[in-house]
Symmetry: C2
Subunit: 643 residues, 2 copies
């Protein structure tokens, strides 16, 4: 299609391939594959015999079948070290985060025993260490606590946590099975940065309770309520607790600092929290801390996770609370877990599959909810320690799990004397790292809109609540996405001097505009949301150019539209092109199309638009189109001369 119009042109006029129409079924299959299987999980499966194929699919769903058989003793040496290191972190973190969620501390330990075992079987990341997370713990506490006050009915409160974890698991598994990993993509980096920073801030504020040894505190999380609460109960402040807290903080910060200076000593900072707990516990035991203003954790039962399946509570009037808490915190945990897994995998040049991870997280949380665990995911701090400790496979999670089992079976009662202030100090230090001031500054420099999205999340969380901060920030991101869609960039192209290249005339102010010819470039898909805008914009380009050129006594005879950047077009878009064509036609201007892409060429052909423009006026490059236009102009001038 297309004819050779320009003989004096150095390339022969290349034909645009308009005939490569794909059958509908094939196009649909390819679209669905791109949407839901962008990672092509079963690629290259066709070459294998049937038995091997089944095993490969099974391996895909249960990754331990893939790495298990190849597992070696030398790998185990690394995983053992990593596992013990993260276990030493899991004990204080488990207790702290459970307290952050207003749960009995032992639940935090339970949650570091069963879920890591499940993850080791189903998880595809080699670096992730499983455990509870601070942000989700606080979020759960704030949503569930608003409906079921922890102090009034602790058992109901706990059961609602299990139920929420169950729904989290179901949601995560369903999202994974239906390959809806795409949803997590809608949590942008800016949202996560702002949300994490805001959450870390309010968690640190919450720790003032522990640091000051207070007994009464607000259940709200916003800045105003917390500060009010602190000063309202100021008679409860205990200097003993505060002094001890400052010492712990100082020690933890020092070990963190050591890590940044001497990266090989990362293990010092990894076991520092456990040291703080142990030293704090011994100290509290020796001085009878509880009687001297240093509150302690209190009794911890020996023994493994009790089965909690009968505690799940589906009939109560708190079901909607459990579902809401489960879905929101699950979504958040998913975003953190996948982001962490992905960034660690990238450092080792590996890939992880978001959808598979979701299924693994889902199974882990469902099983967790049956065995007295609350929401778990792959927290950043623990996973980073695991990574630096040199873990090779998910076996490090198994090692951690066994360590925690030992603690649960034999050592749990010893942690009774852990001072709350030690836990507060551990949380504060873990949270400080999550407030990325540098990233805020970078965002401000690079992209103001992203900075806004980030700040909305941060301030929303700090001043109102976590749900408000998160949802407003996501809403703003989606509005932005829709605006991108609704207001695509267009530009006028100019010829770069001395070349056959045509580029944005605004970006290259030296480029030449061609007499009687206007060249426009459209980008992005054209469809209902932007068709109206594009029609007005094209008309404006035309009118602006006409008024500029009229001053030189020049008319526009040809409009060349470069649509190589248009990746798809819908019915409204085709309607718009028809209107633009009709408009140009009435002004006596010839339209030319350049480089329609496969899907777009398909639709333009079947809707008859190509017919309307004329197949001779569809070109492969702007240069070809310009040559044809010039030839056409020359011919009509010759005709005029003859007349």
């Amino acid at each position: 299609m297309g004819t050779t119009t320009g003989d004096h042109h150095q390339h022969p006029h290349q034909w645009v391939n308009l005939s490569a129409k794909r059958p509908f079924a094939k196009a649909l299959k390819s679209d669905l594959t791109e949407t839901f299987f962008p990672d092509n999980p079963f690629g290259g499966l066709g070459d294998l015999p049937a038995g091997a194929r089944v095993f490969r699919v099974l391996q895909y769903f249960v990754p331990i079948l893939e790495w298990g058989p190849k597992y070696t003793l030398s790998n185990f040496r690394y995983d053992l070290l990593a596992g013990v290191t993260i276990a030493s972190l899991a004990i204080p973190q488990g207790i702290s985060y459970a307290r952050l969620a207003n749960l009995p501390p032992i639940i935090g330990l339970y949650s570091s025993f069963v879920p890591p075992l499940i993850y080791a079987v189903f998880g595809s990341s080699k670096n992730l260490a499983v455990g509870t997370v601070a942000a989700a713990s606080l979020l759960l506490a704030s949503i569930i606590g608003a409906d079921v006050p922890a102090a009034e009915d602790p058992q109901l409160y706990l059961n609602t946590f299990y139920t929420a974890a169950f729904f989290t698991g179901v949601m995560q598994a369903v999202l994974g099975i239906f390959r809806l990993g795409i949803l997590v993509d809608f949590l942008s980096r800016s949202t996560i940065t702002g949300f994490m920073g805001g959450t870390a801030t309010i968690i640190i504020l919450q720790q003032l309770k522990g640091m000051l040894g207070m007994k009464h505190f607000t259940t709200k999380t916003d800045l105003v309520s917390v500060m009010h609460s602190i000063f309202f109960y100021r008679h409860e402040w205990r200097w003993e607790s505060f002094v001890l807290g400052i010492c712990f903080l100082f020690f933890l910060l020092l070990s963190r600092h050591l890590k940044t200076k001497v990266p090989k000593l990362f293990w010092v900072s990894a076991i520092a929290p456990l040291l703080v707990v142990v030293i704090g516990g011994i100290f509290a035991y020796l001085v009878h801390g509880e009687e001297h203003g240093i509150p302690i954790v209190g009794d911890l039962k020996k023994g493994l996770n009790p089965i909690s399946i009968s505690d799940l509570n589906f009939q109560s009037r708190h079901l909607t609370t459990a579902i809401k808490a489960g879905l929101l915190s699950g979504f958040l945990a998913l975003a953190e877990g996948i982001a962490v897994g992905r960034s660690l995998a990238l450092m080792k040049n590996e890939q992880i599959d978001g959808n598979k991870e979701m299924v693994a997280f889902g199974i882990m949380n469902i099983v967790g909810s049956f065995t007295s665990c609350y929401l778990t995911t792959g927290p950043f701090s623990k996973s980073a320690v695991n990574f630096h400790a040199g873990c090779k496979t998910a076996m490090s999670n198994v090692v951690m799990s066994i360590c925690i089992m030992m603690v649960l079976l034999f050592l749990a009662p010893l942690f009774k004397y852990t001072p709350l202030v030690a836990l507060a100090a551990i949380i504060v230090v873990a949270m400080i790292g999550l407030i990325e001031i540098k990233e805020f500054r970078r965002l401000f420099k690079v992209d103001k809109f992203d900075f806004c999205i980030c700040m909305v999340a941060f301030l929303g969380v700090v001043l109102f609540s976590m749900v408000i901060g998160l949802s407003f920030s996501v809403g703003l991101s989606i509005i932005r996405a829709l605006l991108y869609v609704a207001r695509p960039t267009t530009c006028r192209l100019g010829n770069i001097r001395g070349t056959e290249l045509f580029r944005d005339a605004k970006q290259y102010p030296d480029s030449l505009s061609l007499p009687n010819i206007l060249i426009l470039k459209l980008g992005s898909p054209i469809y209902f949301a932007n068709a109206g805008y594009l029609r007005e914009r094209i008309t404006r380009w035309l009118e602006d150019e006409e008024s500029v050129r009229k001053k030189n006594g020049e008319d526009i005879h040809h409009v060349i539209v470069e649509i190589g950047g248009v990746t798809s077009i819908d019915n409204s878009g085709i309607g718009m092109l028809n209107e633009v064509h009709a408009n140009l036609d009435r002004r006596g201007i010839q339209m030319a199309l350049v480089n329609p892409r496969l899907e777009v060429a398909d639709k333009l052909m079947s809707s008859g638009f190509i017919e309307l423009v004329g197949q001779d006026w569809v070109f492969l490059s702007v240069n070809d189109a310009v040559t044809a236009c010039r030839f056409n102009l020359q011919e009509s001038r010759n005709k005029e001369d003859r007349a």
Copy 2:
């Protein structure tokens, strides 16, 4: 800025303009202008003196100041004819649609008197004829009727209509003032086609009541309820009514057919409805129709619109119903009015401004709600008649309004005898034209997804309700928009034989792939919603190509990424590029960028990504990049040879 790497290349290596960074304020202003003022209403204002400038702005807001002073008698001749013609249509349509909304018929006439006057002052379209519309009438009746049964408290029902019209007006004016015409863009052509078709279908079904002369009927609109109702009350069927209805239908269809055959006789079909009303009225009067199974309209009061401002009802518990009905029907009316105005303007090669139209519609509905009118807009049927009758300006609306005023003052009681069956026949014929079977078929052929969106609207309206049909269809359109955004097209480029052009290798299967070099093209904006996908997709391109090329013993040394189609990038997108670069780096592959656009180049510079890739590896065209890569490959081979 790129250096001249390829001496053996025919163009000198052009520099990419990376330095044209726009200051933030300027970029923001340009973005806001593109988003909210794509039509550049005050362009070229700067050249005028202050007084003229104020007048121009006033003219912008009150278009009658623009065309009024230039108005001539010869224009008036056209407008008079058009105005009388549309008045003859407005009378039967006004009465019919008011009955469709279960309102007293006189309200339909009131609504054709005041709003057209207001529109003549503020409206920017020269072709629109103002009046009530069938779809919105039925929608209002179904929403308001569900809360306030018309039969129980007719006055409250009527007042709720006024209140809804008030909220419609406020919403439309606000949308227009804040230049949110962009929202109407989200009603795609496919949605409107399907919705209109579905609504026309259910409206025709509703007319079975009138055609069969029935007294009882369901207030629901779905197919099942209506059919059930018709057969449940089958003892009410009156053959007299039905026979008369069939005669009217036949006559109206004949006049419509005449129009398509002899376009000059359009006025026959335009006045046919009035003829049907008059003939039907005389017939019913003569035979005492009401006593013989031909129900009539009943008493109509003489006199102009009573003031209804005190009837607006803001305190009642029906306020939310009024707001919901007002906003939904207003949105719909807006979409129809603007679409109609735009398509008629296009035929005359004029432009209308959606935002200005919204303000005009808004003022018209607010004033309407104060003067006993319900929702009005620019209906398709009336406006098309106005257009074909040769209207020149909005003066035709004034003429129509005066005709209706005459009717209200002197003739209204005569319409008492209008048989309901005549109104039913008029509505049926008006609705038949809105079911665009051809368009459905075309959509199926061109775009299956658009066809689905259209069918969801159609079937949703017919089988469930108008609100369900509309909202599901819009939801599906938005999901599609987000999918476009989340799954942008990428492709591998190949060299078209014998040229320097690089195009999609899938579309041009004959194109050549270059040894050791992989060329990819990204399109669409890159940001949080698709950054994750693009990272995986690029990795997959790389791995697929590597496995293909490995068979020939070939490695990939260079990846060239064409980003000329990337119109913007956000923080997550830059993060993605960083990760891709790191990934390529680890594999020992050099990355090259081609043709970053203005906004993108800005951000890549300020985020330091260009620094990372190296400014030498940013090119203006794929060809330049290829030349540089080849040169680089040759050099490293030379080095190997020397070693």
